[in-house]
């Protein structure tokens, strides 16, 4: 297995605390969130009706979709009170830049330095 490679996706300063922003990453968009304890990244489109999760309200470690209120745990990608699961991505901050790990599946995608 090759070394995981990290892909820069933007400036950390562009994501305010407890908010999210989206970015294209490979074939899909990924929503990146700044939590008090570090970073989290999940797929951008809500599995319900495609709502933009980066525009959702963040509380605790969950985001609520702005369209119809589906709620997901940002650590696991699991829907609260449901069985749907978002893809999660490993994300880290390096020298003010955000990076996503190019490899597939990741668990709680917190900044290793945090």
């Amino acid at each position: 297995m090759s070394e995981p490679s990290w892909v820069p996706i933007g400036r950390a300063a562009d994501v305010p605390l407890l908010e999210g922003r989206s970015v294209r990453f490979g074939p899909r968009r990924v929503a990146v969130f700044r939590l008090p304890g570090g970073w989290a990244a999940v797929e951008q489109a809500c599995p319900h009706a495609g709502g933009p999760l980066s525009d959702g309200i963040v509380a605790d470690t969950c985001v609520t979709c702005p369209l119809h209120g589906w709620r997901f745990d940002l650590g696991t990608g699991a829907r609260v009170g449901g069985s749907e699961r978002l893809a999660t991505f490993a994300v880290r901050e390096r020298d003010g830049l955000l990076e996503l790990r190019a490899e597939a599946e990741a668990g709680l995608a917190l900044d290793e330095a945090a």
């Binding site: 996706i9 933007g10 400036r11 300063a13 562009d14 994501v15 305010p16 605390l17 407890l18 908010e19 922003r21 989206s22 970015v23 294209r24 990146v32 319900h48 009706a49 495609g50 709502g51 933009p52 980066s54 525009d55 959702g56 309200i57 963040v58 509380a59 605790d60 969950c62 985001v63 609520t64 702005p66 369209l67 119809h68 209120g69 589906w70 709620r71 609260v80 009170g81 449901g82 069985s83 749907e84 955000l98």
Partner: protein, 835 residues
Amino acid sequence: VNRVVRIRPTVEMPEATSDRGAHADAAARRHAVAMPVPDSILVVGGGIAGHAVCEQLTTRRPGARVTLVCAEPRLPYDRVSLGRLLAGEEAAALQLRPDDWYADRGIAVRTGVKVAALDPGAGTASLEGGEALRFDRAVLCTGSGALVPPIPGIRSEGVHVFRGPEDCAAILDAAVRGSRAAVIGGGLLGLEAAYGLAGLGCPVTVVHLMDRLMERQLDGPAAALLAPAIEALGIEVLLDHGTEEILIDARDRVRGLRFAGGRELACQLVVAAIGIRAETTLARNTGLAVERGIVVDDRMVSSHPRVLAVGECAQHRGVVHGIVAPIHDQAAVAARTLCGEDAVYAGSVPAAKLKVMGVDLVAAGLAEGPRAVAVADEVAGTYRKLIVQDGRAAGIVLLGDTRGTELLLDAVRTGAPVDDALGLLAEASQASAADLPDGAQVCNCNGVCKGAIVEAIREQGLGSTPEVVAVTRAGAGCGSCKPVVAELLAIERGSAVEAATYLCPCRRQTREELAGVVRDQAIESVSELSAACGAGRDCGACKPALAYLVSEVCGNRHREERHARYINDRVHANIQRDGTFSVIPRMRGGVTTPDELRRIADVADKYEVPMVKVTGGQRIDLLGVRKEQLPAIWEELGMPSGHAYAKAVRTVKTCVGTSFCRFGLGDSIELGVELERAMEGLYTPHKVKSSVSGCPRNCAESYVKDIGLVAVEGGWEVYVGGAAGATVRKGDLLARVDAPEDAKRLALAFLQHYREQAEYLERTYGYLERVGIEAVRAAVLDSEQQAALLERYRIAKSAADPDPWRERHAPVNPKQFAELDSESELVGPPTGAAR
């Protein structure tokens, strides 16, 4: 009867997840008292029945080891209220108990997975995917599925059933406004589906095979009155129509129905709601005795002693129930059987309520019988009938006038002796909750009787209807019994206690309590408030409510935290279903100029805005705008924000009044523009729509606005609490005054009163319904209180941002209007023009 429950504490229950397992163990230890602990119980099916069994079991025996396996990808929800999803409610709102409830009771829950096979002899169940669970006893609550009529075309695109949230979502997707819908089936379910579709703006036809609606519950005269009541809702009713074929177009989409006899009906959407069929596949494969349902005895035990069945999948004494009330009776008996008690289920009296607004209908027991008395008023459309069999109450049909429902239902349930049937009908129409016997069932959805409600109020010191609903579950289903719950509370506690409504279930604090914390500790932000009184948990749903509360108490001199605001209030535009936004500039009183219209047209051209539309509030809406385009569009419009995305003062509509109209009595345009200027920029518990009409012809629809002013001969009338949305309500007349300045002052005092007193997301009509116009008059018309309200209004208004769109020049963060990989379009320097 032998004691069938054995105590085998050594058998370990496999747990769904480690943390829930830990919870269960802890709970089991905590409750390890002298009471015999039932064996490990597997409940198969997460519907109302499965939930009821879990609740009954863990209430009787805290610490019982229960695993609930739900095939649907969600926790148990109130399927009875499915129609509410078509009215725009979220599926999550129907969830019977919050996520934590299951963990707190030590119930391990698996959602989104089916039990593939059951081996009662070995005590094992295998889940889809291969995992095995062990159990001592299993309760099958597999419910039922929609009965799909075997007619050609039934599988085509555009044909739906009405059974779960997924069906509702599909119907909502398909119900494009104006597309014609047909509902096959004129029973309870079909009528509720038709009502939901009509609410979506679809012309609806109910197609029924029989010669009358709801023939299982109603007699001929009641059904004859029901049909016109349904038609009055704009729903067409076709009786005696058997559907022979669903017609499809070249792309396999529904285009109509063909009936026996050849007649056709064009429609683009079909909902099949002809009934339900017990889901017994698992039971059959397990080798249990199954007829129309899983055959159970009076203890709810199936043909295998280790397996019970409850709910719509169960057949008891030859009867399979398809409504909710018997489920609770059965679940209670099943729980007692599992606890080793001798319990007997002797059947239930079926009772049904139609949940269609404006059509009150209750039917229970027999609809026809050897002796019956009926009181009918064909003009008023009311019908009250009591059926008597062998000298005892055996059935009721109440249509249009359902007074005394609980008393009559209780008489039918208990088979009360009836000598004077007409007398009982008359007595019931005058009965209050105080007259009900303790055993009378108040909530049919959750099977809660009066005695249990009164006991809970007394012993737990409950002080508000929401508390009583949360503790007893009475009123948590379709909600039709909530007035009785409130009445019982008032009888028990006096009328002054109705206060506590928690701001959010995630924090057990009321709005007043939280406002007190903000004042006492001089809190200026949501984070500080959360830290000061949070329980360490925060659901996110209440952050906008807290943000409003902090801003209101601080008179808009708070520290703004955008993460606590909904996306609309972060980018000052209304998010649409595809993630784009809508832009509505302010156009006070609905008055614009050729110059503004030119700029709007230029912007629409330049940015290729997909849709330009005139709104109901006399504004112009630019729809389909990308987030990145917002700042540049605002700049080029040169008009302030219309706040059409916020819980805030929205619009003041006007008619032309004395400026042009030959009937005008007052200058509605001038007053409307002034009122809008005075109110704009203020945030409110929910949106506030206003209007000013120049005469009682009411061309600006002032009677159905949150605040509506109407010029009358010699003065102005001020109406508040009107609505013409999902709820239609004529506003209450607050006062009649002489001069336009007085009308404006009253409107502002009311606005401030509403801003301070209403719950978040409570519209003025809900607030007025809750507190009554007299309470509002007392607060707003009293000269001293009015002066104080107006002073606080001025303080809030002076610090309110009249135009958040100016953030285009000074974004609150670098990517306020963009994503990580996009930039917002460029905005020129502030011009200061056109303000």
